[in-house]
């Protein structure tokens, strides 16, 4: 059975792609784990109950997917300046994803590049009126993908910044063991900054972001950093996370087994918009000071979430959830003040490299 058919059977019918930050439906974790096993093409070694994966020998490190998220821009430029293309057993492609947006230091020129990687947009015909970012997505798909195929890079790490106080956050689509083991590894190694994982509960066929091109992928999102600004402390955090990832891949490729364990990750369940003026559509409140900068702190019913410009407090209604991406600059236009997530525990088997 081909990889693509296995994926379709595991994940069901494709859904119509929605705007970014869309809410996800809660799914049965067991079914998700089975789906990701199929997608990764694993073999379960029943005797040791350790899961094996092929060697991870080609990776891509991408920066400037949003042209004003400066850490990735400068880290990729630095790696390109030093002509970094191989570290031990790992071949590395460094990619400046959206050069035109980087040149003008804007998130995008015509449309958000990081929403252009759905199957539909990747296969849409190019005409004169096709936005730059849609064309660029297809170029990147040819270079690093094609998405879903054997030729795709083993791992794609996409570097991002946020204005939200999210520390170091790894973002995945599915409960893929490889990135989750890397997450566990980075969490153990880095103590100077909170390290967390966020999961978007979307099957890979509906995935819209650049990292969906790789076989096993994740984004590294670090904040808070204003758009257009480069902070040394944030740069050092991202550099360290990338270094740890490459070190992990080397260890993996040399035959190490990574122990079983558990990790906590935050699965986004919905998004909340700002209160807005019904006539102008402009926001009429800001994130409440008690919520501002408190990403990942449990939000309870009755907790304040917005403070209007005239001084009224809006309170959270509904279940206890964890807020993320609180006051992210780029999400004002996407009508998202913050995401809300459930905290889940993911059981990880031990993993090792599959030997031929």
């Amino acid at each position: 059975m081909s990889r693509r058919n296995r994926k379709r059977r595991a994940t069901g019918r494709r859904k119509k792609q929605e705007v970014a930050g869309r809410p996800a439906v809660n799914r049965n974790i067991q079914r998700l784990l089975q789906a990701s096993e199929c997608q990764a093409g694993l073999q379960r070694d029943k005797a040791m109950e350790s899961v094996s994966f092929p060697p991870q020998s080609s990776i891509a490190i991408c920066g400037g997917t949003h042209g004003n998220e400066m850490t990735g821009v400068y880290l990729v430029r630095e790696m390109q300046k030093h002509k970094v293309d191989k570290i031990g057993s790992v071949s590395i492609s460094t990619v400046l994803s959206n050069p035109r947006a980087v040149d003008v230091c804007r998130r995008y020129t015509e449309t958000d590049l990081n929403r252009c990687f759905t199957d539909a947009l990747l296969s849409s015909p190019i005409t004169d009126s096709t936005p730059y970012e849609v064309r660029r997505a297809q170029e990147l798909n040819a270079q690093l993908g094609p998405k879903g195929s054997e030729k795709a890079v083993d791992m794609l790490i996409d570097l991002h910044n946020t204005t939200a106080n999210m520390g170091l956050c790894l973002i995945f689509y599915t409960a893929d063991y490889l990135p989750l083991q890397i997450f566990k590894y980075i969490q153990n190694k880095m103590s100077s900054v909170p390290v967390r994982a966020m999961q978007l509960d979307i099957p890979l066929s509906d995935a819209y972001s650049l990292d969906s091109l790789g076989k096993h992928s994740f984004s590294i999102e670090v904040g808070p950093q204003p758009n257009g600004v480069l902070r040394a402390d944030i740069f050092n955090i991202v550099k360290e996370a990338v270094d740890h990832t490459i070190a992990w891949l080397q260890e993996f490729n040399s035959g190490s087994t990574f122990e079983a364990g558990e990790v906590e990750a935050f699965t986004v369940v919905k998004s909340v918009d700002y209160p807005r003026d019904p006539v102008t559509g402009e926001i009429s409140a800001a994130i409440h000071p008690q919520l501002q900068d408190n990403d990942f702190k449990l939000l309870k019913p009755g907790d304040p979430i917005f403070l209007s410009f005239t001084g009224e407090t809006v309170k959270h209604e509904g279940e206890e959830l964890y807020p993320l991406f609180v006051n992210e600059c780029a999400y004002y236009e996407k009508k998202i003040a913050f995401h809300l997530a459930q905290k889940r525990t993911f059981k990880l088997p031990s993993i090792h490299m599959k030997k031929d």
Partner: protein
């Protein structure tokens, strides 16, 4: 000022017209939203007061605000030099040049008797500067007293007075259009973001400023005292690649967020991408500010440096009508001569 006695009170003209301007940079959102809120309320003249103040509320750069960018063609807040304001207009002028001339007609003309009495221009910065009043003069007693008033009324926010020693001929920003003026700069806030605490600080700052103007106009005497004034001395740019002109280092972690903490020779300034520390090579300890301001990368400024000195601010009160008439007569005589 001459030989002023400590208890001598200076008499200054009334301030009947005040302009509050926001969105001079379209992505500095505290001012944008504050101006929008004030326009909704539309209390331009407070009828019940003895000394009403006409408050003009202005969204300076509507197009940039609509796009949530700093500017459309060119930085509006550099378009208020006499040369630019009085230059010939053409169809191909950048949007902001046209707009600066419109604002000069509305709030000025700069340098004339018709100009508004006070311009308060609202700004945000990504630098950790707290609240700053920025002016061209270190002896504009109106601005210095407003600063003292804000310090007293809003004690929980670090507040500083910054002076750019630029002559009236060369002054380039919107606040230079009024007879008195200052920028109210509050940070840190990312551009394109509204932080509630920063918005509240700006709202309080504007309210207290207007309260002070009303008190001043109704005859209150404001006692003098000392103000620490930071006078800009120079800027320092990032180290850059000679070919690409891209920056090759970031503000050092020990300097980042430490605006107004004295920088000594040999203190860390930048950290290169390979981790090397570059140090401050100046001879004089100076006070850094606008550290890592987003909009200044393209202006070649990583940080600005200032000297601090104590300025003795005299007590002031508003001129009485007789004093005002006497001064007007004197002014007219000077004009005739």
């Amino acid at each position: 000022m001459g030989q002023m006695e400590v208890d001598e009170v200076m008499c200054l003209p009334r301030l009947p017209r005040v302009a509050v301007c926001g969105g001079t940079h379209g992505n500095e959102l505290s001012g944008v939203y504050l101006v929008r809120e004030m326009l909704k309320v539309e209390k331009k003249v407070v009828e019940e007061e003895e000394e009403p103040v006409l408050v003009m509320i202005v969204l300076s750069n509507p197009r940039a605000t609509q796009q949530c960018h700093r500017y459309v063609d060119t930085d509006l807040n550099r378009c208020f030099t006499h040369a630019t304001l009085n230059g010939p207009m053409s169809d191909t002028d950048p949007y902001e040049i046209v707009r600066s001339q419109e604002l000069n007609t509305l709030l000025g003309p700069k340098g004339s008797r018709q100009a508004v009495d006070l311009v308060c221009d609202l700004h945000n910065t990504t630098a950790n500067m707290g609240m700053c009043l920025i002016t061209y003069s270190d002896c504009d007693w109106i601005c210095l007293h407003i600063f003292r008033h804000l310090q007293k009324e809003i004690p929980d926010i670090p507040m500083r007075f910054i002076h750019f020693d630029v002559s009236n001929k060369e002054s380039y920003s919107l606040d230079s259009v009024g007879k008195h003026g200052f920028a109210m700069e509050i940070g840190p806030q990312p551009h394109g973001v509204v932080r509630s605490n920063i918005y509240t600080a700006m709202k309080d700052g504007v309210q207290h400023m207007l309260d002070w103007v009303r008190l001043f106009n109704s005859g209150t005497m404001f006692k003098g005292g000392f103000v620490d004034v930071f006078t800009m001395v120079k800027h320092i740019d990032y180290p850059r690649d000679s070919v690409t002109h891209n920056i090759t280092a970031a503000i050092h972690p020990h300097l980042q967020d430490r605006d107004f903490c004295l920088l000594h020779p040999e203190d860390p300034l930048f950290q290169t991408f390979s981790g090397e520390t570059l140090r401050y090579k100046g001879k004089e300890p100076l006070y850094p500010f606008f550290i890592n301001e987003c909009a200044y990368y393209e202006k070649g400024i990583a940080l600005s440096l200032a000297r601090k000195r104590r300025v003795m601010v005299p007590s002031i009160r508003v001129e009485t009508e007789q004093e005002q008439q006497a001064n007007d007569h004197e002014y007219s005589s000077e004009e005739e001569n």
